[in-house]
């Protein structure tokens, strides 16, 4: 009770001195307001679908607009499949590149290469989609001798291309924030550069890199237009489930493709918001976990600044 009173008195006093604080405070709170609004409205609009189908909205295997049947499992599976495929490619490449840029690349090139990769990250997903559809998909089709190149694999490769710069950027930041003192400690004992990387740099930045991978996952699963253009967009679970040469229909693609036709208030409309809520929840959990990892880590390390 007491600290709250003290805080209120303090706020009151500082408000009298500087009324501007109120405005600053409101702006700062806006993120909380917006995120709550988003959750609230997605839930409200999506409620009908959840009430109608119950758990089957999540685990039903049929998504058919004509039959007014909405089971999101194939879509959720499609999203997860495309994203895990992408991360399997992007994580090792991205982390390796980050290590190379921070630890190996001579200083003179570092800024240049970092800037180029940042530029790569800024290219809009619609451009990636365009390139994927017009150039990558035909290549995939002819390489695997399949009739159409718009399949899960293409989406994964494209998504990997889009994620690598982000992963490089975030994990590069984390690797270069490993304190200089640690590196010096290892080097002064006669460790080689490689040993220093293996025994000091990677262990110290491990959880940060893990967090950056989770962020990359969140980004990738929310990617819409590029994925939509090359994933094939058929709401099935591939046969067998690991068949990357089958088309899939990721959640984001469904929302983007069907929203235009869904009548406001219809079951379809609600189902699309239900999908939005699923995505929102997934990314919320992933981001929160990443946050927790980073925070717990910095608490453990006490002295290490982040």
């Amino acid at each position: 009770m007491k600290p709250i009173m003290r805080k209120l008195i303090f706020i009151h006093k500082s408000l009298r001195e500087e009324p501007i604080i109120l405005i600053l405070f409101l702006c700062a709170s806006s993120s909380i307001i917006f995120i709550s609004l988003m959750f609230g409205f997605l839930t409200m609009e999506g409620a009908q679908a959840f009430f109608t189908f119950g758990i089957n909205f999540l685990i039903g295997r049929t998504w058919e607009t004509n039959a007014n049947l909405y089971g999101a499992l194939p879509l959720i599976y499609g999203s997860l499949m495309v994203v895990s495929g992408a991360l399997v490619i992007a994580v090792p490449l991205g982390v390796a590149a980050a290590i190379f840029i921070v630890e190996v690349l001579p200083f003179t090139f570092r800024d240049l290469v970092k800037s180029l990769i940042e530029l790569l990250a800024s290219i809009p997903s619609i451009i990636y989609g365009f390139i994927g559809l017009v150039f990558l998909a035909p290549q995939i089709a002819s390489f695997f001798r399949i009739p159409s190149g718009t399949v899960a694999l293409t989406a994964s490769i494209l998504l990997a291309m889009m994620s690598i710069p982000t992963i490089i950027g975030v994990s590069g930041e984390i690797i270069s924030s490993v304190p200089k003192e640690y590196r010096e400690a290892a080097l002064a004992l006669g460790a080689t550069k490689l040993q220093t990387i293996k025994t000091v740099v990677i262990p110290v930045s491990k959880s940060g890199i893990l967090a950056s991978i989770m962020l990359g996952f969140g980004r990738a699963i929310g990617e819409t237009v590029a994925v939509l253009m090359v994933a094939g967009n058929i709401a099935i679970i591939p046969e067998p489930p690991w068949n990357f040469l089958s088309p899939v229909y990721p959640i984001t693609a469904v929302i983007a493709m069907q929203m235009g036709e869904a009548a406001v208030g219809s079951l379809e409309y609600s189902a699309l918001f239900g999908l939005g809520l699923i995505l929102f929840t997934i990314t919320f959990i992933v981001n929160t976990l990443a946050d927790v990892i980073v925070r717990r880590e910095s608490k453990f390390k006490g002295g290490v600044k982040r």
Partner: protein
């Protein structure tokens, strides 16, 4: 016996000429103190002896540093082996974020010196030598970051000792410590010189007088004076040296 001989050493950071024509002979099993005002190049001189300047971007070194009459800047010097032979302790204690045991064992493992239970022996011996064993023997698996500053610094000394060095470089090892921890480390330094050649950088003139056999005074990158500590303190030849040791530099 001369252990380390520095000949015409020059170091630049980019265009900044930091060390100018340094010539210095360090005797085996002695404590040599390097004094001088901040920024005069003490740390750089120390780091030239185990080639740690190399990891700094834009650093260039000319001249020779001989250890046992071998120039360490020779092309075919194994720099990792060199750094094993020349241990270094930094100004700010820098234990790795690992357990106490792993910190001391780190160098041993890196150099694959021994394995298994022998590592535990080496860890124990090194911690004893660094006068830390009694304080940590029951918590070897705790994180090294849980130790106090003075303990961390002794841990860093133990870590350097574990790989059987011949020379130990200490860069203002007490600057982050309180008087009691400082006294402990000073006692330790005296003892270390029985077995090792010790070179210590210090800001603190009294400390140099207390622990060293030889002293060097560095000013703006130049070696102004070098000789037995007693002579430097009782009978400095250079005016600048005298001013510095009597506190005239402020």
């Amino acid at each position: 016996m001369v252990k380390v001989e520095i000949r015409n050493l020059n170091v630049w950071f980019k265009t900044n000429h930091v060390l100018r024509n340094i010539n210095l002979k360090v005797k085996e099993n002695s404590v040599t103190a390097i004094m001088g005002p901040s920024g005069c190049g003490k740390s750089t001189l120390l780091r030239a002896i185990n080639r740690m300047n190399e990891i700094i971007e834009g650093c260039r070194t000319e001249g020779e540093v001989l250890i046992d009459n071998q120039n360490i800047y020779d092309k075919n010097t194994n720099v990792y082996e060199l750094r094993r032979r020349v241990g270094m302790v930094f100004q700010k204690p820098n234990p790795l974020p690992k357990s106490i045991f792993e910190n001391v064992a780190y160098g041993v493992k890196i150099h694959r010196m021994t394995s298994g239970s022998k590592i535990a022996d080496i860890v124990k011996r090194s911690l004893e030598e660094a006068a830390l064993w009694d304080e940590v023997k029951d918590r070897l698996n705790d994180s090294a970051l849980t130790l106090s500053g003075g303990q961390q610094q002794r841990l860093c000394i133990a870590r350097a000792l574990a790989v059987n060095p011949e020379i130990i470089l200490l860069d203002e090892p007490c600057s982050a410590l309180d008087p009691i921890a400082t006294a402990k480390i000073e006692m330790l330094i005296r003892k270390l010189s029985e077995k090792y050649t010790v070179i210590i950088v210090t800001h603190n003139v009294q400390q140099a007088a207390r622990v060293s056999d030889y002293a060097a005074f560095l000013y703006l990158g130049e070696l102004i004076e070098y000789g037995p500590t007693r002579q430097i303190f009782e009978n400095p030849r250079n005016e600048l040296t005298e001013k510095y040791i009597t506190g005239g530099f402020g």
